[in-house]
Symmetry: C2
Subunit: 258 residues, 2 copies
Amino acid sequence: MAKKPLILVTNDDGVNAPGIRALIAVMNTIGDVVVVAPDSPQSGMGHAITLYSTLFADPVKIDNGPQKEYSCSGTPADCVKIAIREILDRTPDLCVSGINHGSNSAINVIYSGTMSAAIEAGIEGIPAIGFSLLDYSNNANFEPAKPFVKTIAQQVIKHGLPEGIVLNVNIPNVNYKSIKGIKISRQARSNWVEEFDKRQTPQGKNYYWLTGKFVNLDEGKDTDEWALENNYISVVPVQFDLTAHKFINELKTWNLND
Amino acid sequence: MAKKPLILVTNDDGVNAPGIRALIAVMNTIGDVVVVAPDSPQSGMGHAITLYSTLFADPVKIDNGPQKEYSCSGTPADCVKIAIREILDRTPDLCVSGINHGSNSAINVIYSGTMSAAIEAGIEGIPAIGFSLLDYSNNANFEPAKPFVKTIAQQVIKHGLPEGIVLNVNIPNVNYKSIKGIKISRQARSNWVEEFDKRQTPQGKNYYWLTGKFVNLDEGKDTDEWALENNYISVVPVQFDLTAHKFINELKTWNLND
């Protein structure tokens, strides 16, 4: 029998979040699982790394599954780095991040700790997937997502992924029968219209809370937003070469060296 | 006489860093300058935003220049959001971030607070540039960079930038006469080989410091790394549509819906 794949699991909602518990349960049916996840929620951390403080990574036992688990004081990207360099004894066959409580579709991929962990693994040459469910609540129902998460993970193990590419998977918040299937998509052009809730401290000093409304600016039917609005699971291949190659030739015509 | 351009200046090393002082001095020769920058260093923060704590943005006076300045308790991306929504009375004509103390070339763009501020402005439709000097020290010499920073900023104001694209500018740490010019480049394929310095607390608990060595894996002569190694300033057009469009058709052939 072939050796079982080694699967690294992480997230940005913290090692105790229901979403990572669901992801671990699925991965235990596919391979040998090691969890290295933040000890507290890290949402909105983008691709932060910890340069100027110490990192802890302590073994923990959270449920009765067969996985090994570590609780790490760092960001999602830190978790992947420390897992690869210090915890795992070989390179994992797959890294999965999530299941995030809330969407990482469209422009949200930029702010996403879930996706930063997947990208960090991708930089290391490890096939990687970020999973997110469109329900921010702590008691979100991850059961309908599980069979799809399993299929996508198995397909990535089977096919591998090209160098420089990871997958961003978002799952609509509906029951199993309502999910119409999986759509390969592109990142929708979108925006957050932020509003700052301006308040005063008891001492009379101004401060702000960041709030905002997501706006989809893209009418294409090939986007992740369209897929999700129509009860499909969106799968966007994501690259971390950020070069806008198409603009290079035009930029070369500017008078920058005069 | 045409109205002077409104220029938003930010960074990730903090409002008191020498690099942002140099950038402000240059921008004061081009337009009306408003500075909204972090009150403390934010390096390695990636595209973090502050969702779960309060934000302060207080007027400050740091030098004798004509610019207005605000010191903000948030990340670089927060600074841009709060500037646009709460501080500025019109949309700026340009947003510049930096000059960062240290490189943001190659894969470092992913971890860069400097570039996250530029990208945040780009998402808002504002032409934006991140500037970085390849010298991490606090007493780095920004003088040789200044004429080039001015030229690039002026050209961006003149031409504008296409939707979805910002510029990542890195400047070699050499004297003015040694800078050979400006090269439009692509992001080099590269990696950090992290090492974790493992230590023990006085109580005997393990902890880690993240350290590492940058490795350029790309032999191309059209990369930012090549430009910098050969004493050119690199200018990489950066996009925040992360979709790996070239992989979409292949991904559609996988059996994801069986």
